[in-house]
Symmetry: C3
Subunit: 149 residues, 3 copies
Amino acid sequence: MWIQRKITIDKKQKGFHLITDQVLNQIPEINKINIGLLHLFILHTSASITLNENMDKTVRDDFESYFDHLVPENQPYFKHVYEGPDDMPSHLKSSILGSSIFIPISNSCLQLGTWQGIYLCEHRKHAPTRDMILTIQGQKYAVEKMSEK
Amino acid sequence: MWIQRKITIDKKQKGFHLITDQVLNQIPEINKINIGLLHLFILHTSASITLNENMDKTVRDDFESYFDHLVPENQPYFKHVYEGPDDMPSHLKSSILGSSIFIPISNSCLQLGTWQGIYLCEHRKHAPTRDMILTIQGQKYAVEKMSEK
Amino acid sequence: MWIQRKITIDKKQKGFHLITDQVLNQIPEINKINIGLLHLFILHTSASITLNENMDKTVRDDFESYFDHLVPENQPYFKHVYEGPDDMPSHLKSSILGSSIFIPISNSCLQLGTWQGIYLCEHRKHAPTRDMILTIQGQKYAVEKMSEK
């Protein structure tokens, strides 16, 4: 069983944003899946996706501060500067954090750890909406199990 | 063919640990698979998984030193500090290194390069056991091939 | 439907190289796939794969400069030094950037964003050819759709 769709995440401020619920709302079919995997893929090179702590907003704040220190704007050796000082750092953060995640599915549920949430990492100061492709592949329940559900 | 199970890795010291054999021991069914993929997913936000050099212990030692320099404790701008000075750096290392890996399976074997091994990256000083979900999806051998094996 | 093959990328200079077309040329069967995923996996620990900006060569140049600053050679605490000063930084860059990527497939095409391209990140100064395993898993078109194509 394959499911694939494009989803659009509304414009976000530069920073790290928890989008677990927004993603879950897009995949009602997960309740038919016994074993599977969710792939979430962002179609951009200046934003990224990662998994991290889902409870305390200060973790996301510290991510933002840390990554601004790790990849500072206006490095003297930067050549790609014509799209603004936050552009090249955005590309670099995008590759350090990554453009896709996979999460296992078991028994109709995403198997995230207790503290794991999905972060959209927005690296641009004036960002557009962000498109993602969500792909699920999984094994449906055997018929006898489905009738119990 | 889908296989999925939760495995628990015993408590480790802070540092980078080779767990290739421990993972392989958990997947005897791999010998039925002609083509496939193994997904290894850690259910935590202060430990991570990566692939790197599988032979020389000094590589893992240098990983530990380097990542402690890359993400230092006690940054003046950290707000998320109540779980100890190694907590926020652990979250950051977790997203830089990543929480899952995929390895191709061919002809009943994990297709790792000669020098590739699986690292469990433990970022906390007093860490608990670590849970992972291991998912294999693959194509079984055609019947004639299976009878040869 | 599973497709898996090993591909070899010719020797590259240290730096970031766009290989999207080289990869696409290896997967003519993609035109049979309705929904699927491409996995690209590098069998080495001193080179990596990532997705980033596919147009402007200066982005790749800035990647090279930045990652040389992020992971400098000859750190006083490095122990793994006998393979040359660029060896340990190569291992570290390999885990920061990652050894595999996934790209969704829809309607016979890789679903890359407008600006996304595949980078081979070569971290060694005198690098060998690089082997990758390419795995595609996907759903074929239903018969009626195939006959239209």
